[in-house]
């Protein structure tokens, strides 16, 4: 019984404003509030609210036969709550149907797993708690930022209590094997690994509105026929996409909403086909083999590697400078510093510094900066100011600690008094 597993990435980054060297130490307003708000309101209107409505309609129409999963980042949730709370409500309405699974990730959509395991655990735990609070579900499936995955991640996730993990069905990892089965990571047999079906995902996610594509226009019937054609050699077809592809990457005029509305009927026309969520797939299916991923892979770009975020020295410099602060930030444990520190970890900041394609960003996730150099300059300026604040907080902390220690002793105070006149005498 082959099943279609739909999972959507819902992510909105907080873009930084053009923070210059003259702002450093003067003010600590890092984010471009106007831009973030405008972008989110627009996205909410053309994408989130419209598509959530459609999904709700489909769930009502097909009952338990239609299912979908979301991986919502913490920064996206922050922006919904801050600028468009009705989006949270619409996701909550979807959660209440029982046909929607919420997949966990790191709250700030960060690359923390690569640099600080403690930071990663903390971010995942906090985000799980938040999803539970908002949607009443304890996540059992995990998807890392931009599908960054390797063997070690699987081990870490198992320790955190997850049952399933989503990853890219990269050719170099799969080899001759098909992504349409459940696998298990070589590093831990107790976790289910679902691999993205790249061609079928990209047909909707990337190519749908491409008039130069020889399969354009894509109809629900045609797409369903493709899925049906692999039915004999498939147990779970994983269609993982960016939620932006509905209404934003492919605008409403391209017919993407009509396509999605017609898709369940077309797919379910074959009686043995159904929809599933990742958690359900892992529960029902048996892994057919082991997958070994010693190197990090992601769902990005041709190389399916980390070069979009860590391809050049500026990106590495920025990310290393950031994570070098981790122990200090956690030690100081000041809420506003922790908050800013997490925001600065959002992977998009590093992608904006990429020199790989220069102007070649997907239309719905543009680089807010004119050039990667501007992005790097801004980020480093922000980080420099952040470090100043951190140092100041550490000094305050040390001073207050010293004060509490020294208060009972009178001698320390006397010493200070003695030294004062001698300094004056020197002048």
């Amino acid at each position: 019984m082959p099943a279609l597993c739909l999972c959507y990435e819902v992510h909105e980054p907080y873009r930084l404003r053009r923070y210059t060297v003259f702002d450093m130490g003067q003010n600590s307003v890092y984010e471009d509030d106007d831009r973030n708000c405008d972008t989110l309101l627009f996205t909410a209107r053309v994408c989130y609210l419209r598509m959530n409505d459609l999904l709700l309609k489909l769930i009502r129409r097909y009952g338990k036969d239609f299912k979908v999963a979301f991986s919502i980042s913490g920064t996206a949730l922050d922006q919904f709550e801050q600028y468009a709370p009705e989006v949270v409500d619409s996701f909550r309405a979807l959660a209440d149907t029982g046909c929607v699974e919420f997949v966990a990730e790191t709250g700030p959509h960060s690359l923390a797993f690569l640099y600080s395991r403690d930071e990663f655990d903390l971010q995942v735990r906090e985000h799980c708690a938040r999803i539970r609070r908002l949607f009443g579900q304890k996540p059992v499936t995990f998807r890392n930022t931009e599908f960054v995955y390797n063997n070690d991640l699987a081990v870490a996730l198992e320790k955190l209590g997850f049952k399933a993990v989503l990853a890219e069905g990269a050719d170099h990892v799969l080899g001759w094997r098909s992504p349409n089965y459940l696998y298990r990571p070589i590093s831990t047999p107790r976790l289910g690994l679902l691999l993205r079906n790249v061609p079928l995902s990209s047909d909707i996610g990337l190519r749908f509105s491409d008039r130069g594509w020889n399969q354009w226009p894509l109809t629900a019937e045609k797409y369903a026929a493709w899925c049906h054609s692999v039915a004999d050699s498939a147990e779970v077809i994983n269609i993982f996409n960016d939620y932006h592809c509905f209404g934003l990457r492919h605008s409403g005029e391209t017919g993407i909403f009509d396509f999605m509305e017609a898709l369940p009927a077309a797919l379910l026309a074959r009686k043995d086909f159904r929809f599933t969520t990742p958690a359900e797939a892992v529960k029902k299916l048996k892994p057919v083999g082991e997958i070994d991923v010693p190197e990090f892979m992601s769902w990005d770009d041709e190389g399916r590697d980390l070069t979009a975020w860590l391809g050049n020295d500026m990106q590495k410099d920025a990310v290393h400078a950031l994570y070098a602060l981790t122990p200090r930030v956690r030690k100081v444990n000041a809420p506003e510093l922790t908050h800013d520190f997490e925001r600065l970890q959002t992977s998009d900041h590093f992608r904006y510094i990429s020199t790989k394609w220069f102007a070649d960003f997907v239309s719905d996730r543009p680089n807010p900066f004119n050039s990667p150099y501007d992005a790097y300059i801004t980020y480093m300026n922000v980080l420099a100011d952040f470090e100043m604040r951190l140092t100041a907080a550490e000094e305050t902390r040390a001073a207050s600690a010293a004060a509490t220690k020294q208060r009972p002793r009178a001698k320390a105070g006397a010493g200070r008094q003695r030294s004062a006149p001698s300094a004056k005498a020197g002048v």
Partner: protein, 439 residues
């Protein structure tokens, strides 16, 4: 392809970027098989090259018959298109104070630099000074006659002229020989003078561009200026970007130990309105508030220099802001090699070759967005010339974050591989073929 080129500068008879561009361009064209006769107002010693024939217009005999024909076709060129006023106006497009003084002296030495005719009816000629003197307009007029005389005796397929000083010559030669005219525009009067243009120059520019069979602009920016300001038909204007000629041997310069811990920021260019030196100084003031041990160098001379020196004193940044004067040859190389960043804050820069030269020395560059070269350089920092805070922020970033400079330099090196005079020459050869009907 035989090309008759009229130019006002050619190394070593050089004053600015025009000569450098002509040199690189002709060298590459020669490699593509073009036979070039390059006519200068006055070619002195040491200017001979193996890749082209350098001709001096000065002293070319003009026969009575030729003069008559010139008068016939020349009448309408000068009188209908150009309001020629023989006023000793201060026509100093690329003039530095020193050059001005020098040309004034030479003018006083040879007060009668006009016609030299031995007897009536015999061929006559003019003597030209070259360069940019106070009587530039009469020089331009005389050059047009002399260059045309050369055009009448030589065989060629295309006339290619560089900037307005040679446009009258190009127009006259085209009228006399019927050969197609390609007008290359390296800078317009609007670039040089902003809105306070010299109308005579602008009129010559317009006439030359309209008369030309094809106009070659050095950037999209210049192409736009030509179309908007002079009403040249857009389909007649093509863009051919300049490039930079690689030095055969690049000497490496050691940074003296005593200044190794400091960072140096360079401005190199004429100190005039067009180049935006005051914005550089303002940015320097802002940077010094943040990085007190940075050093700023302003190399070049120009009419704004005295004013800027006063300004540096007024801002009390003189101990960190240095004026290097006009640099030549090896001094330029040394200056580039010592610099950590090259800044070109031009208010209006049709192309701007110096950033490319800086890049040859692995110096990162910060360009004004109002420059043609920023169209071809992706891997450069860019700022609007008026936004001195943004400029200062970027200067600080280069001085503070070594990764940034390294990445810029690395990517620029890659980018420079495609910015070659050979590519420009290929495009120009196509242009020649198109205007000469593919022969």
């Amino acid at each position: 392809m035989r090309v008759l080129m009229f130019g006002w500068e050619f190394p070593p008879h050089i004053s600015g970027g025009l000569g450098t561009a002509c040199y690189g361009m002709t060298q590459a064209l020669a490699k593509k098989g073009a036979q070039i006769i390059f006519v200068l107002p006055r070619a002195g010693e040491g200017g001979q090259n193996d890749f082209l024939r350098l001709e001096s217009a000065s002293g070319t005999p003009i026969s009575e018959d030729a003069a008559e024909r010139m008068v016939r076709v020349g009448q309408d060129i000068w009188q209908e298109n150009i309001r020629f006023l023989s006023v000793a106006s201060p026509l100093t497009p690329y003039l530095t104070p020193q050059d001005y003084a020098a040309s004034l002296r030479s003018l006083q030495r040879t007060p009668d630099s006009a016609e030299t005719r031995s007897r009536p009816g015999a061929p006559f000629t003019f003597r030209l000074q070259g360069g940019y003197g106070p009587d530039l307009m009469s020089e331009v007029r005389r050059f047009s006659r002399l260059a045309s005389a050369i055009a009448m005796r030589e065989n060629f397929d295309v006339i290619h002229v560089h900037d307005w000083m040679t446009y009258p010559a190009g127009m006259l030669a085209r009228a006399l020989t019927g050969k197609p005219l390609v007008a290359h525009i390296h800078a317009t009067e609007y670039d040089r003078s902003g809105e306070n243009i010299n109308t005579q120059v602008a009129d010559i520019e317009r006439a030359g561009l309209l008369a030309a069979d094809l106009v070659v602009a050095v950037s999209r920016l210049t192409r736009q200026t030509v179309i908007e300001r002079y009403g040249v038909r857009p389909e007649k204007v093509v863009v051919v970007y300049n490039a930079v000629a690689r030095h055969e041997v690049e000497r490496r310069y050691e940074i003296p130990p005593r200044i190794r811990h400091e960072k140096r920021v360079l401005f190199l260019g004429r100190v005039t309105f067009q180049k935006g030196p005051e914005y550089f100084m303002e940015a320097a003031r802002l940077v010094l508030q943040k990085i007190p041990n940075a050093r700023f160098f302003m190399a070049g001379s120009g009419d704004m220099l005295p004013q800027l020196i006063r300004r540096a004193g007024q801002l009390r940044i003189g101990r960190r802001f240095h004026f290097a004067g006009f640099l030549r040859g090896e001094q330029v190389d040394r200056m580039f090699a010592l610099s950590d960043l090259y800044v070109m804050p031009s208010v209006s820069e049709p192309f701007g070759i110096t950033p490319l030269e800086a890049m040859l020395y692995d110096v990162p560059v910060l360009l004004s967005r109002q420059s043609g070269v920023s169209e071809v350089l992706e891997h450069a920092l860019k700022a609007d010339f008026w936004d001195t805070r943004d400029m200062a922020d970027k200067i600080c970033a280069v001085l503070r974050y070594p990764c940034l400079a390294a990445e810029l330099v690395k990517n620029c090196r890659e980018e420079m591989k495609s910015i070659r005079w050979e590519n420009a020459a290929d495009q120009l050869m196509t242009v020649y073929h198109n205007v000469s009907g593919g022969n």
